[in-house]
Symmetry: C2
Subunit: 594 residues, 2 copies
């Protein structure tokens, strides 16, 4: 049987015992990281969420206490009282390494079976076993630090927005299923047979209603749900810093957010983010980086060579331009050594996977560049081309010729691959706003226009005249915040004018019935007076991941789910009682193949 | 078409325009509460979440602006710039009543249809229409104030617990369904046919795991779900201030919570709560107030008269005592006028509804008390009885004779009804801790012992010897915080000793298979070393309701659901596409009767 704490109460966290405590008694509590038994001398590393402190027992220690210390094993739980002493052999690897606690009173609060893996960051533990015993995995220093940092990120977030007049208002988690967006998670209703709630993909509708209701500034750290096929950097449930402001335009929201980012990085990481955060239109981002979430930590921008090559002898180039497309290139400075012919072949494969027909290249190792299309071009033409794109000795240039919507994303992705191969991405935080997204997206398959963000997004004032005449030219008051090539947040100014909203719906080809079915009460709400408003949602999980310097969301979520949306520790989802399903008026339909 | 804000930006909230602003220009924005057109003088009450300010337009106002002002109707949305002036006729009912804004620039940002009801607190609007147009209902001053107060309550909660070293850690919303407790809301899995997630009834399991994982102090404002039949003061989704601490015993948790309550009421309501909060054992609470959530704002405690009446001639009394029951009474001081015979009959009806056979009474209006059982008792016996219970002229005494588990809850509820009738409940905040709950509850029907809280609750140290010999005598380290007769929070110290836990399960008659099926991985987790820990969950909705002085949860939840768990605004739950159900491997099973 375990001992009770009795009257002993912790006076210091382990990591906080310091030289200032020398000569005084402290009470510490935690888990045994390891016990070293040297006969008449025993050392115990005691661990809590703040760090480790050494407990010491020697031949002057009370015999009963010493005997207990002898019995200790990893992960036993203790509370111990003792005098803080200066250590003889200083351990510079831990912050309490100058001191030790010479224990006079010890209680073993819980024993522990030998854990399936040793609790530290060194060992390589399989994902499956770590997640099954997540409560042990969570004892690791790295996860302890990450979870604490995430707490701090959330705290600073609330501090900042609260100070700026935002109210945190909870919106429903069981709401109406909407046919828009990603797949909903559904919740069958017991009281209403045949009907279902949906878990929110975001509180979008409710926050717009809160603006209509006059709450002026809203924030919520909101749990959201999307039943999508999981990628490594996605979880079925995730947390969004969701906000909305009234009586504002784009500029006000960007400014408010920039103040937040500056404060957050300063308080949590002691990193200064220079303001204003650079802005780039969607068009610019696509043309320069081939992506609407450009990683601007390095150059290697895409260069348009269409003009130079439109009349050249290389049919792939001239043909692409003639067909209304473009020839574009990136230059990997000093990349010739790493990007061997074999590597370039791999990149070409990648480009084909993205949809390009291939890549042309110049690899300039020796005096003369080796060029995949040299026989179609004169030396002068080639020189002019290389000068235009800035390719010099030691560099590799990669070309893509096709329509813009092939060349740009292809080179955008190749650019990232090359940068990783060349290891030229500095460890820093590069933010960039992407603005002026197109409002409409042309759906070739159905010959129709779709809303690129959501249909409540406000067009730029100067684009209103083109709504009918040239939908493709209409840009939206929509903005994304991108950090190191990751989309952190997405937002827009909403349409608050009922008539304009009707017009936008018409442009999208929606009938009144469809509008009612899809957007129902929300559209009606705008009839009763809505202040101009807009907002955004910032992905807290991704933000935390990047700030923790981690590359997996699992490192910043206490109990994550795996790729197939299951949780290995509790083994959920699981089969439930038939009685439960009956009460919910549903039945499982399992096909044989399943 | 609505106007845009242009470069106008709010410089003051409406409610914050003050005499200090006189002579300066301010920009205010909000909704038109009302417009009064007096010909060449127009007044507009402009409303935002902080209050109302008067806009004034007269014959010196720019004609275009004046024309716009003339067109204004209720709920139009404006931004207006103007000079603050002292008002000629002061309005003492609003805090900006000394001043007005003489408008020089006005933009109508949105017009509004005539709303289905006028937006103010005076009008009596039907629940159904108010909830259907919740975004308009939410514009009312009372709801604006409540939602803002709830924000502040949540903020102070986080401030306090964060300052005390609690980490806010998010736990999963899609978890494993457990057969214990209330009915789960289920979420069918698309990836795992035939399997389901459950929405959490509370983060109980996860917070215990977080303690095992060494996070030491955890808090979360957690959304919880229970698919129960709704009462007026319950919602299918609700928010719990969920917390857990390691290396503590009962005393530490009560102290931490008391510090919170004091801070909360001081900061939010400027009310001083005296500490320590009174404590009462479960046994005491039941015997004195007939309830484990006693309203201690008034006396009228239950008095045991069993000894006095056990041999009296009134068979109902003596028989009840002889059968091992009791005779108990409450005295409504000065209640004789209000509690007429007719009223007493109603109370007797209520008592029968609770399970009592009836109520005996003494109603003492004139010189001699009128007594329902006078013919069975001598005058001396009656005098002694009245003296014992403290019944004097002008009072009414109500008696109940039966087993304790009938008399106590009956008089407990009658006591509340009588207090309301007599209007003797003062407006104040009376907290009380209820401690030492019984661990086991005897289930007569199945002749077995059930856990009264949950089976992880730690028994009191001194009760451990009775585990086998006298389960009914085992009290638990469980505690409820009660405010004005409402259970605000419930908590306990958890069993962290694996062997003791096994013993408790055995006492509950559980087999190893049942333990594994019901508590599975959580039980196992305790094998790997768990610090002593305990915590509680505080109902944020109820707490907010009481602090807002409201009597409905709907007044503190932005988008509440009604009795049948539907939301009237969005009309959810709703029918979904057959395709969605197919993907989730479920089908609706609708009986004809439905």
């Amino acid at each position: 049987m375990a001992e009770s704490m009795g009257n002993l109460r912790r006076t210091r966290y382990c990591g906080e015992v310091s030289e200032q405590d020398v000569g005084t008694n402290v009470v510490v509590a935690g888990f045994v990281q390891r016990q070293r038994d040297k006969g008449n001398l025993i050392f115990v590393d005691l661990r809590d969420r703040t760090g480790i402190v050494q407990l010491t027992f020697d031949d002057t220690t009370d015999r009963e206490v010493f005997a207990k210390a002898k019995s200790l094993k990893s992960e036993y739980v203790l509370i111990a009282k003792g005098e803080v002493r200066r250590r003889e052999s200083v351990n510079t690897e831990i912050k309490t390494g100058m001191v030790e606690v010479y224990v006079s009173e010890l209680r073993i609060l819980a024993s522990a079976q030998t854990p399936p893996f040793h609790v530290n960051d060194d060992g390589k533990v399989g994902d499956e076993i770590a997640l099954k015993y997540r409560y042990l995995d969570l004892r690791r220093e790295k996860l302890q630090r990450n979870i604490q940092m995430r707490h701090k990120i959330a705290k600073v977030t609330r501090d900042y927005f609260y100070e700026n007049g935002f109210l945190e208002i909870e919106t429903p988690m069981m709401m109406k299923s909407t046919p828009e967006g990603a797949r909903d998670y559904l919740v069958p209703s017991r009281v209403h047979p045949g009907k279902f709630y949906a878990l929110p993909q975001s509180p979008q509708i409710y926050k717009q209603l809160l603006m209509i209701a006059g709450y002026d500034r809203y924030i919520q750290l909101a749990r959201c749900f999307r039943d999508e096929d999981l990628r490594a950097d996605r979880q079925p449930e995730f947390t969004q810093i969701d906000l909305e402001m009234s009586f504002v335009d784009v500029e006000d929201i960007l400014e408010m957010t920039e103040g937040y980012i500056k404060r957050l990085f300063s308080e949590v990481l002691d990193v200064d983010i220079a303001l204003p955060i650079p802005r780039m239109t969607y068009k610019d981002a696509m043309e320069r980086y081939g992506s609407d979430k450009p990683d601007t930590r390095f150059g290697m921008e895409i260069v348009d060579c269409s003009e130079l090559v439109k009349d050249c002898g290389f049919g792939v180039f001239s043909g692409a331009v003639a067909a209304g497309g473009s020839v574009r290139a990136i230059v990997a400075k000093d990349g010739a050594k790493v990007l061997t012919r074999k590597e370039i072949d791999k990149l070409t494969e990648q480009a084909r996977g993205i949809g390009a027909k291939g890549l042309a290249f110049v690899r300039w190792v020796d005096d003369a560049p080796s060029c995949s299309f040299s026989k179609f071009m004169s030396e002068e033409e080639l020189s002019a081309l290389l000068a235009h794109i800035g390719c010099e000795k030691g560099d590799v240039a990669l070309f893509c010729a096709d329509r813009d919507r092939v060349t740009l994303p292809t080179l955008g992705q190749i650019r990232l691959t090359v940068a990783k191969k060349l290891d030229i991405i500095p460890e820093q935080f590069n933010f960039v706003w992407i603005t002026e997204f197109p409002f409409f997206e042309y759906d070739e398959e159905n010959d129709t226009w779709l809303a690129m963000h959501h249909p409540f997004t406000m067009p730029l004032d100067e684009c209103l005249p083109y709504l009918d005449s040239d939908p493709g030219a209409v840009r939206a008051k929509a903005y994304d915040l991108v950090l190191n090539g990751t989309e952190l947040s997405s937002g827009s100014i909403r349409i608050t004018d009922f008539e304009l909203q009707q017009k936008m719906f018409e442009s999208l080809g929606l009938t009144d019935e469809e509008i009612e079915a899809k957007f129902g009460f929300l559209v009606n709400a705008y009839r009763y007076g809505a202040p101009p408003h807009g907002g955004m949602g910032i992905g807290l999980d991704r933000l935390s991941m990047i700030m923790c310097g981690s590359d997996s969301l699992r490192d910043v979520i206490a109990f994550p789910k795996v790729q197939n949306a299951s949780e290995l520790m509790s083994e959920c989802p699981s089969v439930v009682d038939a009685e439960q399903l009956k009460e919910l008026h549903i039945a499982s339909v399992l096909e044989e193949a399943e």
